[in-house]
Amino acid sequence: MTEKLHIEDIDWITIILYLVLVVFGWLNIFAVSYNERFRSIFDLSMNYGDQLIWILTSFVMIILLFAVDHRSFYFFAYPVYGFAIVLLLAVVLFGTEVNNARSWFRIFGVNFQPSEFAKLATALALARFLSGWDVKIRSWKSMVTLLMMVGVPAMIIAVQPDWGTALVFSGFVLLLYREGMPGWMAAMILFLAGLFLFTLLLVPAEVIIALIAFAFIGFAILSRKAKHIVAGGAIFGAFLLVLRLMTDLLSLDLNQYQVILITLVLSTIVYLIMIYLYKLKRFLLVLAILFGSIAFTFTVDYMFHNFLKPHQQMRINILLGKETDIQDVGYNLNQSKIAIGSGGFMGKGFLKGTQTKLNFVPEQSTDFIFCTIGEEWGFVGTTLVIAVFVGLLIRLIFLAERQKSNFARIYGYGVLSVIFFHFSINIAMTIGLFPVIGIPLPFFSYGGSAFLAFTLMLFIFIRLDSVRKVYVI
């Protein structure tokens, strides 16, 4: 039996914030296409007409969400998750290849991207699992299960390959952290996600040098003794110097990368002896993390070069801005910054933008929609958008915390995690604070699957919240 729906129990503040984002987002998609040839707002051949259909479809879905029994989200969490996994596998095998990746199904002329819905399914499944009465998050068994739940869809998406969307799953760390995952573990996961990204972005030698530097800093913080720091540095420096001299004198055929690795191995042997002699066991951890990270870097690098076909490597390189078919490194980002920067404080005004209309900014209506906001609405507009997002996110936390049901609370944090990750990374990448990984800005970017998925995700939570007074599982 479904209880009677109380309109006053629906959180209208969230809905208003959502509508503000949707309307403003659509206006910006409209602005991108505007100068081309204006016909009518319902023109399906243009992005904005298409998007409007998706928005209206989403509104219908919202009504349907309120019509189904609220308990079905709990009961069907696992089946939905399973179905999402099946879809992800199917799209890898049978999907349409777009931009060298199989991320899309094309059904009756409509493009559908299962990975967008996988986030929603994963949020439901995590909530269902963690709300179980006998689940202790800190037990190894639960931890492994949780990591699998997040990792499996992420891995399949990585195989498409759409590594940008795969990285979104690391955002669930926020949910897990709130539900009691140890802080160091959350930090570790984020560290690995970052390492993963930088392994792809930088050459291996750079990453390893950075890791060694991090390890040294960690070691210095941990020991706080000058003689340890000097000794550690001297050992490494001595080996490096000797090896460099030897390569020059004996003209050994070693590259920089090999020199560093050999130095590291030799120094480590000395370190281990010293740790044993002076009983400095606590530094073992630093070494373990360092070698673990290096092993991880190797694995990622190996996977990239051996499991991906050249055109798939190209796809990721393009995504990361390392390669574009027309321009050199940093082209996308530079154009994006010019567009946003040219907006100034007040912006050029609605429909008056030029940078985002002359096709200089790639993916202007999808991943780089924030450029149009920046150009036409200026600093005032961008700050306002960020403010509305922050308002929405904090409201979500407030809503999550007022739930009596663990399931609803945890799911709420899942929604928050995904939206926060998308929001922060998307904006950060358009303004050069984060590598370009090609993920959409929630409720703004053109693209039906993503819009529908974000809307469903949010409104399932609003639906759960609307019955908070009567519903306790």
């Binding site: 040839r37 920067g341 404080f345 950060a428």
Partner: protein
Amino acid sequence: MDRFATRKNIIVLIILVVSAGLVMRLFYLQVIDTSYKLSAENNSKRIEILYPARGLIYDRNHELLVYNQPVYDLMIAPFELQAFDSTELCEILKIDLERLRSGIQRVRNPRYRREPFIKQISPETYAVLQEKMYKFPGFYVRSRTLRKYNREIAAHLLGYVGEVDEKLIASDNYYVMGDYIGVSGIEGYYEAALRGEKGQEVLLVDVHGRVQGPFQDGRFDRDAVVGRDLECTIDAELQEYGEKLMKTYKGSIVAIEPSTGEILTLISAPTYEPSLLVGRTRTENYIKLEKDTLEPLFNRALMANYPPGSTFKPVHALIGLQEGVISRNSTFSCTQGFYARGVSVGCHVHKSPLNLIEGIQNSCNAYFCNVFRNIIDNPDYNNVTEAYNSWRDYVMAFGFGNSLNADFINELNGFIAPTFYYDHYYGENRWNALTIISLAIGQGEILTTPLQMANLAATIANKGYYYIPHTVRNIAGIDTIENRFTERRVIPVDTANFSIVAEGMDLAVNGGTGSTARIAYISDIKVCGKTGTAQNPQGRDHSVFIAFAPKEEPRIAIAVYVEHGEWGASYAAPIASLMIEKYLKGSVDPGRKWLEATMLSRNLLSEQ
């Protein structure tokens, strides 16, 4: 409250710190750092589209038929307009102030980014204007090319170039308002090859609209790629000659090289001069041509559905032979017609009885009524429907009843009635060979296009196969044509049977008494032909003739239709014969100049 509830504060903190970071970065980018604004505010970019020249079209002997001439469009960029001396501009352009005002008013409509104001300015006006352009900010000159023709021939075959319409722009990203596109004929079908690829030049423009140079050292510039040249299959000489012969008639000539399927000539008469549909007068001329009661825009060669008349008899002969219901020696008698159970089909006076070859030679109606009746009443089939379907399958294999899928965008199918058509008309099982006997003489529920009939002539010439007729033999740079034009389509009829029919068509031209097409006789070329009269309920019948020559190793197959010409021998056969001679010998023998003169002097247009 669980024990980790306080972690919500840390999460709020993370959100706030990250967002503050974003806002600070944006503040720096948008407010403090002015380097991005400089380029965008003091300068604006202007994208100049570079239009490639359209590919040229040559004939089969590499004579240039179609090329390009430059013209200039004066454009207005509404957002860049500033006050200017309007009288001066009006003087240069020789227009009144009102015209200028309304032009500017029009482009204020935000639907268009940049609108041509006056299209196709003459080079003289352009020379004057170019020097003073700096006085008129917001005006630009765009250079385009228009088609120009060396000979005023082959309008239908070449097709014309028009401007894209809204519908097309919506469905194809390549085109924008004002672009040209091939609308029909070769221009239409080979648009993708002919158009080339547009280029662009991104220019830096100062506040006064003056070009400062290429934007970012031209890193966004793209050169235009010139369109591909085409070598078409027509023989310009022959085409021109044919058009001259058809000048005073309505009808069509299609000539094909049988060994390749290449269309040597494609004429729809009356035709028009291709240069009429070029440039500023195009629309005006088009409306004129459209209103002409002689329908010069209608491409009869591909779109006119005529009954084939007696020219269809060879097909019955071939099917009859292949099905074994007649043989080369089957004789039938003709008493000036075919009479059976109340059905009668008249015939002219000729010898009787006659065999198959004589039947074709004399175009005996009675003979082919018997052949057709034998085909439909063939006891090998269970019923009339089955036999008819078998007949129809043969006919369709010849390329009738469906478009040949040649390289045209407006080719029609013709019509070969399916059984349900008769079932509907007469009732199921209530029709038989006699009910539909008019098919025997190519009349009744059968329609074919001149192109299909020329293809039939080519098929008989090849003794059993054809290549899909086509108009282009080479695309420069691709050096190939679509596969379907080089694949042999084989008719399920034995070569020996084709030889028998060819024999009959030989005698129809070169035989003695009773030969129906003696008028097509050429002393030193063995022409094989078949006359026909296509019944026309609206007026006098049409004169039809199909032929190929020389008999051994044929080099040309031809179909000629002359509307209201009545007998095949009166107009179509002499015209076809002149065409064949012209193509094979290069000119018409002085001994046959009288025939040419006769054809040129008659006029079936004024009689109407």
